[in-house]
């Protein structure tokens, strides 16, 4: 470990884990969601009345499924796991006597007041990345009362 660990490094590390990686994870949830939507159109796009769906459908959906389940969903999960790890590491350092009491107090103050500072504010909600097995909410639009 370097002996030049400053409190700013620690807050950057915490921010990377608590804010940046979960925010990018949300983007992967969107990627999975957009790919999920394609399934709604694949039936009519490929169905032929006499000979059924085409071989292209099989090839395309296999690659789409891989990108959704094996890439988007997993990247989403790994970003969250990595983020949680960095956050724990940063908070772990802050419980040691490596930093001065003053620095530790500053670190704790910054992350405790994160909600007041957009730079340090973790996303309030990280949606799940839908997998191909998940239902399509678009198939069941809300009724007139929005339910």
């Amino acid at each position: 470990m370097s002996h030049d660990l400053h409190v700013d490094d620690l807050t950057d590390l915490w921010r990377l884990g608590a804010v940046l990686l979960p925010t990018v994870a949300i983007q992967y949830a969107t990627m999975a969601s957009e790919l999920h939507k394609t399934a709604l159109n694949e039936g009519p796009a490929f169905e032929r009345s006499k000979s059924g769906p085409t071989k292209l459908l099989t090839a395309w959906t296999e690659l789409r499924d891989t990108m959704q389940d094996q890439i988007a969903v997993k990247t989403h999960q790994r970003l969250l796991t990595a983020g949680e790890a960095l956050k724990q590491i940063a908070e772990g350092y802050a419980t040691t006597d490596y930093l001065s009491a003053e620095d530790i107090a500053r670190f704790n103050e910054e992350i405790e007041n994160a909600n007041n500072d957009p730079v340090f504010e973790p996303p309030p909600y990280v949606p799940d990345a839908p997998s191909t097995d998940d239902p399509h909410p678009e198939e069941n639009p809300p009724d007139e009362r929005g339910r």
Partner: protein, 363 residues
């Protein structure tokens, strides 16, 4: 002309696009029905009234005579709306009453070229583009420069493993590879949409020319009816235009990779991606035989292009699966970030030395 109304196009994000597409779909269906009408009209012209052959002894009605120029059959009117086929002796209906049902195959065959709507694959392509945009924008740019963040003070194995096995491969390679595969999915759907759209255009032209050829039968100096089939050429053009924008790819895959070297791969196995074909014949059945032959040629081109797109997608999928199933974690990280160790050691132990297994490549 039934058939296209049983396509459900009510759901999904591209309703307006579909509404715009509907007229051109109907157009082809209607033209196919008009080909049937033209065939009926032309057949009626082929059955020519001949000289009267006398009067029916029982009814006193005039005994008309018809000659079918196309088949060489002659018919004689027997009275009471009955005719006799002079070649077989068979009692038949008025030979000039042509049953359109015998040409139902025209409507059925044309359906192949309009029953699939390009707005569906277009919507799918746009969704793939939105999926790509999702991992291009927002905080992704901040993550791309995260390894330059001033955290130099954080050291040890955990820091090294995080940057070496997770962050660097992710931002330097995996994100771009993921975007390339999403491009590949989108390009395949753009190509497929172009295929469906051009098939409709070609089918409409073919129907128009078939009508022209049928209406020109037995006319003096009928105009030459020539159609153009350019399904394959059109799709090659679309793929080539998209692929030419992808010259900076980190990895090249399937259609995009092939397109960079020549989008003609999409037309592989098709001798003439664009071709002119006359629709000719001296009689209705000859014109319709030619029509059937051209419909088959169009279908063959369409199926081949579709097969070629599928082949390129399979190739891309093979490469992606190769990365994902590799026993070498670095290969896996070409497209997928390393899985961090689930068990984060307590970094407060001892000398605040994070465990060496953090962010190791998962084997």
């Amino acid at each position: 002309m039934g058939g296209i109304t049983d396509t459900d196009y009510s759901a999904g994000p591209a309703d307006r696009v579909r509404a715009m597409e509907a007229p051109s779909v109907w157009d082809v269906a209607e033209r196919a029905a008009e080909v049937v009408n033209a065939a009926v009209r032309a057949r009626q012209k082929e059955i020519m009234p001949g000289p009267s052959v006398g009067y029916n002894e029982d009814t006193g009605e005039q005994m008309m005579h018809y000659d079918d120029l196309a088949t060489g059959t002659s018919y004689t009117y027997m009275g009471n709306n009955r005719w006799v086929n002079n070649n077989t002796g068979e009692d038949v209906d008025d030979p000039r009453n042509i049953d359109p049902a015998q040409y139902q195959w025209i409507i059925d065959d044309f359906k192949y070229f309009h029953e699939r709507w390009d707005s569906y694959p277009m919507a799918m392509a746009m969704e793939c583009e939105a999926a790509k945009a999702a991992i291009q924008e927002g905080e992704m740019s901040a993550l791309l420069t995260a390894d330059q963040i001033a955290w130099n003070g954080w050291g040890g194995d955990a820091q090294r493993h995080f940057t070496q096995f997770f962050l660097d491969p992710f931002v330097q390679t995996a994100v771009t590879t993921q975007q390339t595969v999403l491009d590949e999915l989108a390009v395949a759907m753009y190509a497929y949409a172009a295929l469906l759209k051009q098939a409709r255009i070609d089918a409409k032209l073919l129907a128009d020319k078939a009508i022209q050829a049928l209406d020109g039968l037995h006319e003096s100096n009928p105009p030459e009816a020539t159609t153009v089939i350019k399904i394959a050429a059109a799709v090659v053009g679309v793929v080539g235009a998209i692929a030419s924008g992808g010259g900076t790819l980190v990895v090249t895959l399937g259609i995009i990779g092939a397109g960079l070297g020549g989008a003609e791969v999409i037309a592989e196995g098709i001798t003439e991606p664009e071709k002119s074909r006359p629709i000719e014949g001296s009689f209705v059945h000859e014109v319709l035989d030619k029509l059937r032959e051209l419909l088959q040629e169009m279908k063959s081109d369409m199926d081949k292009v579709e097969e070629n797109i599928g082949k390129q997608i399979e190739e891309a999928a093979g490469q992606v699966n190769g990365w994902l199933t590799s026993s070498d974690p670095e290969e896996v990280s070409t497209i997928l970030p390393t899985e961090p160790d689930d068990d984060i050691p307590n970094v407060t132990d001892g000398e605040v030395q994070p465990g060496s297994d953090d962010f190791r490549p998962r084997t």
